[in-house]
């Protein structure tokens, strides 16, 4: 559908898509946004968009997390489990410490460290022990889920009001999540300029070549997983802010959505090529599809089917636009 809107201009367009590989995704997101507005005008209002960002900020962060490992040609199927683990760890800690402002900050620090530790474990298993990334992180995901169930066997412990009121609240008439989005953009901008980003992409391009160039390939891959763990923890904070409770299985189904978001955003799963901006747009696309399916008035028993079809169509459109632009 969107492929037809671009006339194949050789040269300029090719350069543009090569430089900004997320352009096809952006186009799809805009089309979806317009469709959302057509079926439910209120969804593109300020409040509607705030709700969208509030709900899908977690998936955006998780897609960013996934992007850093995909850069290096790896994959992390445990990101969802890390989200669950961090979610229950911070909720339990806040509850034990009484839910004061200090307890929230302390719990968030512990949450970040938990994510970091999970990432390092993944990195060690995949890069140092050289196990297959798909299988190894699948195994660690079960392990992390087990830990989460040990920390909180049953879902439902509420998060303290101080935490979710902040996440859902406003400062100077601007919702908190927009501040969070701006800080995220700044952090991503800085991260893209670190040596690690370039090194991860070089490893993804050709690990053997990177090794022969003298790059510490194993250390770089472990750092990629560690970064992924940290961003998964940040995603967990957003989930906790959104749902206001602890649930040891909350992140499970997000894992493959994060992979889909990365691919929708124009990154190559084989590594070496991609952008975090693309992954964020990819997460938005998934969010917009979900809300569109709802706004169109799909009967509830058909929602999953339509949602799946729509994601397939979006993937195809992205591939078609990208291929035509690069041909």
């Amino acid at each position: 559908m969107t492929a037809a809107t671009i006339s194949p201009k050789p040269g300029g367009l090719k350069r543009l898509v090569e430089r900004y590989p997320f352009l096809p995704a952006l186009l799809i997101a805009l089309v979806l946004l317009a469709l959302n507005g057509f079926y439910q005008p209120r969804s593109v209002s300020f409040i509607g968009l705030t709700g969208l960002v509030k709900t899908y900020l977690a998936l955006m962060l998780l897609a960013v997390a996934q992007t850093y490992v995909v850069y290096a040609g790896d994959i992390d199927l445990s990101v969802g489990a890390i989200v669950s683990l961090v979610n229950v760890v911070i909720v339990v800690m806040m509850e034990k410490m009484g839910g004061s402002g200090f307890s929230v900050v302390a719990a968030l620090c512990v949450g970040l460290l938990t994510g970091l530790a999970c990432g390092i474990v993944n990195g060690m298993v995949v890069a140092a022990l050289r196990l297959q990334a798909i299988v190894a992180t699948f195994a660690t995901s079960i392990f992390f889920t087990g830990l989460a169930l040990y920390v909180m066997p049953v879902a439902g412990t509420p998060a303290p009001a101080a935490f979710w009121r902040t996440y859902g609240g406003r400062f100077f008439e601007i919702p908190f999540v927009f501040y969070a989005a701006v800080v995220l953009a700044l952090v991503l901008y800085l991260l893209a300029r670190t040596r690690l980003s370039t090194q991860l992409l070089a490893v993804g391009d050709d690990a053997q070549a990177a090794f022969q160039s003298g790059l510490p390939v194993t250390a770089i891959r472990i750092k990629g997983y560690a970064l992924c763990g940290v961003f998964a923890a940040l995603a967990a904070f957003c989930i906790t802010g959104d749902t206001a409770s602890g649930d040891p299985l909350v992140g499970g189904k997000m894992t493959l959505f994060s992979v889909a978001a990365v691919v929708l955003g124009g990154s190559a799963l084989s590594g070496g090529f991609g952008t975090v901006v693309g992954s964020i747009i990819g997460a938005l696309i998934i969010g917009l599809i979900n809300s569109l399916v709802f706004f169109v008035g799909t009967p509830s028993e058909w929602q999953n089917l339509v949602q799946g079809l729509a994601i397939l169509v979006a993937l195809m459109a992205g591939v078609l636009v990208g291929r035509r632009a690069r041909a």
Binding site: R193, T198, D205, F211, Q212, S213, G272
Partner: protein, 501 residues
């Protein structure tokens, strides 16, 4: 005292001994040429020095002190930089990023220092300013560059290490004349600065243009070192050939057949395509035509073009006197052309499937079989397998249960059920054991005797000398020389292969 000295370095990959005893001594301020035939161990020796391959034995001395090189990073710390023959570039990164990749300049805060990176890269890009060609700039992504431009980036990357010892493993294979000249000027400058340069090339003229000394490696052993000014190309080739000359030729080679009078099975007339140009030859029925020369000089490309794998740009192919232009391998097979590749994993074996299925695909295609009973097929398959002395447990066993040599026999047996008119062999004995090789070649000669036209490309010179009636020597995608009768000697083969392209 030598800048770098290697003593008795050895390296084995599994059962294959890549380097038996590598000795090398490099002075400061010299260009030291390393030469040897395919698979003689030059690249392995260089990789040991560059840290990307760990040696099994031997010692390395830098400035007289023994050192252990644990990896590419440690090699850099010891002042060794390398140009890799297979290149070590990141395709999606820019030229500038690739040049600086081993040591990205960083600001105090830990971010990539873009300004420093671009200044540093610009210095090396400027060296080749006049010859780098269109579309070459610091911010081009490497995957958009031509082969020669990529090679220039790898050269710049090696130069950017500013290492006192620089290794160049076939740096000129894709470069044009002007680029090579510019590169040699730079090498001479480096020499004046007292840097040591190890240079590998297969072009004799380059070696004599740039080298100070030459070390010859044969079968994984250092044969000797000569001053370039004291030697000549013929003497170097004789060192590379060693005493094997008498051994190989004449005695076991088949008699040169007079091709005249026999019908022509396959004829090429001015065939050109990617990686080869203007190739013409005729193969008579019952003749074995050999393709010789160094790796990757167009031999495989020609065979794959005949078989319809790669497109043909111009020229014509005649099979049994009728024009033959295969659209794809399927078409080629239908019309009686067979192709066996040494790369079994890619081109031959149907991995994980039973032997029976691996022997019969050609039979299915040529007989247009829709349904077949396994027992009837087994009857047809048996004689083909027996002809090759194939050892296997049962036809239903997976092909992966066999050794490399027996797998290759299965692949060849495919073509024996419905005989083709022309058999194209693309380095068919790669990685298979000696007895399987002997079986293969006795079968190939038998097939020729029965009237099949055979083209044999082999990277092992002995196989060519022992089996081919005529040998076409390839260099730079073209046939440089035809060796017939008593001319089929190792010396002539090397000389033609190493001539300037």
């Amino acid at each position: 005292m030598s800048k770098i000295e290697l003593r008795g370095v050895s390296k084995a990959y599994g059962a294959t001994l890549a380097l038996r005893r590598g000795d090398l001594s490099i002075d400061a301020g010299e260009v030291h040429v390393l030469i040897g035939s395919n698979g003689s161990g030059k690249s392995t020796l260089c990789k040991v020095l560059a840290g990307s391959v760990r040696p099994d034995g031997g010692e390395i001395l830098i400035d007289g002190k023994p050192v252990t090189i644990t990896g590419p990073r440690s090699a850099r710390d010891h002042g060794i930089g390398i140009f890799y023959q297979e290149l070590s570039l990141a395709g999606h990164r820019t030229v500038a990023e690739n040049i600086c990749l081993p040591d990205l300049p960083a600001t105090a805060a830990g971010f990539v220092d873009r300004a420093a990176l671009e200044t540093r890269a610009a210095r090396y890009i400027a060296l080749f300013d006049t010859v780098s060609g269109d579309g070459f700039s610091a911010d081009t992504t490497v995957e958009n560059l031509r082969a020669d431009q990529r090679q220039l980036v790898e050269i710049m990357k090696a130069l950017a290490t500013e290492a006192p010892v620089l290794i160049f493993d076939e740096p000129t294979s894709a470069l044009d004349r002007a680029q090579v000249d510019r590169f040699f000027e730079i090498l001479r400058d480096l020499k004046k600065q007292g840097r040591s340069i190890i240079f590998i090339s297969h072009r004799m003229d380059e070696i004599f243009a740039i080298g100070d000394r030459v070390t010859v490696i044969r079968d994984g052993e250092t044969v000797g070192t000569e001053k370039i000014s004291d030697t000549n190309p013929a003497a170097v080739i004789r060192m590379m050939v060693g005493g094997q000359d008498e051994l190989a030729a004449a005695s076991s080679a088949p008699p040169a057949v007079a091709a005249s009078g026999r019908p022509i099975a396959l004829a090429l007339n001015g065939l050109s395509g990617k990686n080869f140009a203007n190739v013409s030859f005729e193969v008579a029925k019952g003749e074995i035509l050999g393709f010789g020369g160094l790796h990757g000089q167009g031999q495989s490309a020609v065979l794959r073009a005949i078989f319809g794998v790669n497109p043909v740009a111009s020229g014509e192919i005649m099979l049994n006197g009728t024009p033959f232009q295969a659209r794809n391998p399927r078409d080629a097979i239908r019309r009686g052309c067979a192709y066996v590749s040494g790369d079994r994993g890619r081109d031959g074996v149907i991995s994980g499937r039973p032997i029976l299925e691996n022997v019969t695909p050609i039979h299915y295609l040529r007989q247009k079989l829709k349904l077949a009973s396994p027992s009837a097929l087994a009857e047809r398959v048996k004689p083909a397998l027996e002809a090759l002395h194939t050892k296997f447990g049962g036809l239903s066993h997976p092909i992966n249960s066999l050794s490399g040599g027996n797998q290759q026999k299965i692949v060849i047996a495919r073509w024996l059920i419905d005989r083709p008119d022309v058999l194209l062999l693309d380095d068919p004995t790669k990685g298979i054991d000696l007895s399987a090789k002997a079986d293969l070649f006795s079968l190939i000669r038998k097939l020729a005797a029965e009237g099949m036209g055979i083209v044999l490309y082999s990277s092992e010179d002995a196989e060519l000398l022992n089996n081919a009636d005529r040998i076409l020597v390839f260099n730079g995608g073209q046939v440089r020389r035809e060796l017939t009768g008593a001319d089929r000697t190792r010396y002539n083969l090397y000389q033609a292969a190493y001539e300037a392209a």
